[in-house]
């Protein structure tokens, strides 16, 4: 009785029927895993080997449901909660619009699970070199023989005993395969090198594409959202005599919901009192309004040094200067309403709350950029 370290013992049979007859005889007597190799699919082999039902179906179902759920969550979050945007007058959370994406993501998750699950889980993909593929039996099996292999499942195979059992079951040629453990994934060095190669080639491809498009602009970049037949803020327009694209509100009109504003002189507005209290919400609103409407000329800090140069020659006011700090809330409000020098009126764009909130925010900027020592919290 010699016992060698072997990966598997393969017996070859002449017909599918002989193989099917042999499986039950061998199955009860040997340790390890039984594996059949046939040149074409043979009915009944799965049942005879007692293979478990493939888990792929369940995985695909679960992943499909996860796909549908994640599509639904993504759409509900983006178009209903985080960035609600009216499309064709439909409600923000319109399930009808969500269905196609849900369908697509269900299919995507399910097919990827099926494909990758089959390759990695069932075909044991990292195993590149199955000993069977280099055996002498394999060329015969791909032609007209039917192989039955007893594969080591961690334990030592009693080669002689198994050979005897296979012979008794009707096998003709017996081959003993020594070699790799059942799962021999690629070496860490190989995996590392492959990852490195993939990384480098992605970088090279990315840079080539980037510079290729930059240096040889065969197609214009996608700027359809910018490229619209409308006037952007601060854009000149030949249609009007004064050349301004941004217009003052038509005389004797007010924005919807606003009351007429009767104060004509800036000093007279000093008696107006800011109706809003300085809460966090108000200041946040002021900051947003400032960023959207004021910062392109006055600068994000209000210091009159914007990133956008004042192309029309006027120098925007420095809102954090002493002169501005000395102005009352009402006077600043008045300028927003009426405009001053090159600055147009914002009465049509901002409602009353927004105007007063931005006044508060200007005060915040003034304080922040002229901070004193005692402002520092210690």
């Amino acid at each position: 009785m010699t016992s060698r370290r072997a990966f598997s013992v393969v017996g070859l049979f002449d017909s599918a029927q002989l193989l099917l007859d042999a499986i039950p005889k061998v199955k009860t007597k040997v340790p390890g895993r039984l594996e059949a190799y046939t040149p074409f699919p043979v009915h009944g082999v799965d049942e005879a080997l007692g293979l478990r039902k493939s888990p792929i179906g369940g995985m695909v179902l679960v992943m499909g449901i996860i796909g549908a759920a994640s599509a639904l969550a993504l759409e509900m979050w983006t178009s209903g909660i985080d960035y609600p945007q009216t499309t064709a007058g439909k409600p923000f959370l319109s399930w009808e619009a969500f269905v196609p994406i849900m369908f697509e993501l269900t299919v995507l998750f399910a097919t990827f699970t099926a494909g990758l699950g089959m390759l990695i889980l069932l075909n044991r993909l990292p195993l590149f070199r199955h000993p069977m593929l280099r055996s002498k039996s394999m060329p015969l099996i791909t032609r007209d023989k039917f192989g039955l292999a007893v594969e080591a499942n961690g334990e030592d195979l009693d080669v002689d005993a198994i050979t005897k059992i296979l012979r008794e079951a009707g096998a003709e040629n017996i081959e003993i395969l020594e070699g790799l453990p059942p799962v021999a994934p690629a070496s860490p060095k190989f995996l590392l090198l492959s990852l490195l190669a993939i990384g480098i080639s992605s970088l090279v491809a990315g840079y080539l594409t980037y510079w290729g498009i930059k240096l040889f602009p065969v197609a214009p970049p996608m700027v359809h959202m910018l490229d619209q037949p409308k006037l952007n803020p601060q854009e000149a327009n030949d249609f009007f005599a004064d050349g301004f694209g941004m217009r003052m509100p038509v005389a004797d009109t007010v924005r919807r919901g606003a009351l007429p504003y009767t104060i004509e002189v800036q000093e007279d507005a000093a008696r107006l009192i800011n109706p809003l209290s300085r809460t966090g919400d108000v200041l946040n609103q002021g900051r947003q309004v400032f960023a959207n409407h004021c910062a392109m000329c006055h600068g994000i800090l209000g210091d009159g040094k914007p990133t956008l140069t004042a192309a029309y020659g006027a120098k925007p006011a420095n809102l954090v200067s002493q002169q501005m700090i000395d102005l009352s809330d009402g006077e600043i409000y008045h300028v927003i309403w009426k405009g001053k020098n090159s600055m147009p009126s914002y009465s049509a764009d901002l409602d009353d709350d927004e105007q007063w909130a931005v006044v508060h925010y200007v005060r915040v900027l003034q304080r922040a950029l002229n901070a004193k020592d005692e402002d520092i919290d210690d």
């Binding site: 009915h43 179906g57 179902l61 064709a88 007058g89 439909k90 009808e96 619009a97 269905v99 196609p100």
Partner: protein, 380 residues
């Protein structure tokens, strides 16, 4: 009482007939003819669906389906039963179809369609369709029955040559059925995809009827050598076309919902609100969700009891689909009472009696088909 199934069915048919006659005498013509159309279309779609299955099997040269082919062949005999029903249904035009009335034609859109929607042309189309489906039935089914006797393999070649032509004929018939009988109840409405939607329901109900009949016959000890692998294929078909029906149904709805054009959405306006809104929910659940999830497991597609009830559910949902499309056109809310039950008794019993009568004669399988044995040996 220990009556045979045939006697029971005859009793229900007679009871139903009495109810139908009373309905006619009471004079509620709108309701009478709407029920008539509903049951006419229910039987017609099953029959057409089965004939389509037969043609499909010929066109692709399917072998697995040869042992079960006699079943859709027998069921498509419903086409002969519904032919007089179709001709009689022409009497419904003046009661149900607004384009037959001057006030209906007052709408400019309907007036624009008057060249197509007028009684003589409509009747001509119906007669042509009836003629076409009778001819197709005689070629496929008559030929197959003759082959039982003469064992002439040339029938297979003839059927395969005719099948592509039949596909074109079938497309025309099913589109006309959809547009003429159903869609023109609301003549303002436009939907290009409607024919495909009706086709999906037709094929699915044909498959469900075939599966149901196969399993009933197996329960009675016939067709014993049709195995689980054949049933698995039918189950797979049912699964696929449950999805197809839902896909087309939703595609039609979503485009109209997005575009929101009055002459398109009003059809859904009528059918998505109030009690109809609940029915459409039932349609989504029983025509899609339940069969879809029921049919996912591999075992479910070949388990006879399971497949039996799923097919029955799909047929019921197909009826509900037709009911939901047709009855809102009456504008009288959800009608369901003894009138509907009487029609159901009469037409369902008559249809079942018709199929049972044909199944009692002749062979259970196309024994003259030279490929029958290959079909019986089919394994997945």
């Amino acid at each position: 009482m220990n009556l045979s199934t045939d006697k029971k069915l005859t009793v229900t048919a007679v009871l139903g007939l009495l109810g139908v006659i009373v309905t006619y005498l009471v004079g509620d013509m709108g309701r009478f003819w709407m029920n008539w159309i509903l049951w006419f279309l229910f039987l017609l779609t099953i029959g057409l669906g089965c004939l389509f299955i037969v043609a499909l099997e010929h066109i692709v040269g399917a072998k697995w389906s040869i042992p079960v082919r006699r079943i859709p062949e027998r069921i498509s005999g419903l086409l002969l039963l519904v032919s007089p029903v179709a001709i009689a249904a022409l009497l419904s035009l003046e009661y149900l179809y607004p384009w037959t009335q001057p006030e209906g034609l007052a709408d400019p859109i309907v007036a624009g369609k008057a060249g197509w929607l007028n009684a003589p042309f409509f009747a001509l189309r119906v007669v042509i369709c009836v003629g076409l489906w009778i001819i197709a039935y005689r070629i496929f089914v008559g030929g197959s029955l003759r082959q039982d006797q003469d064992r002439d393999p040339r029938f297979n070649i003839r059927a395969r040559r005719f099948a592509p032509l039949f596909m074109a004929i079938f497309a025309i018939i099913i589109t006309l059925v959809a547009f003429d009988w159903i869609s023109s109840l609301d003549p303002v409405w436009y939907s290009d995809i409607f024919g495909v939607y009706i086709f999906a329901g037709t094929f699915l109900s044909g498959l469900a009827a075939t599966t149901l009949a196969l399993l009933s016959l197996k329960n009675r000890g016939r067709l014993q050598n049709v195995g689980p692998d054949h049933m698995y294929n039918l189950g797979g078909f049912l699964f696929a076309f449950t999805v197809f029906w839902s896909y087309i149904g939703f595609a039609q709805y979503m485009l109209m919902w997005y575009a929101n054009i009055p002459e398109e959405v009003y059809w859904y306006e009528e059918r998505l609100h109030g009690a109809w809104g609940i029915l459409v929910l039932g349609l989504a659940v029983f025509h899609f969700l339940v069969p879809f999830f029921l049919l996912i497991p591999r075992k479910a597609k070949s388990d006879p009891r399971f497949l039996f009830w799923t097919s029955a559910l799909i047929l019921a949902a197909h009826w509900l689909d037709l009911y939901w499309m047709l009855f809102p056109a009456l504008g009288r809310g959800v009608l369901f009472g003894w009138v509907e039950c009487s029609f159901g008794f009469l037409f369902l019993s008559a249809g079942l009696l018709w199929i049972r009568r044909s199944m009692k004669r002749g062979e259970d399988m196309p024994v003259g088909d030279p490929l029958l044995n290959e079909g019986l040996e089919f394994r997945l």
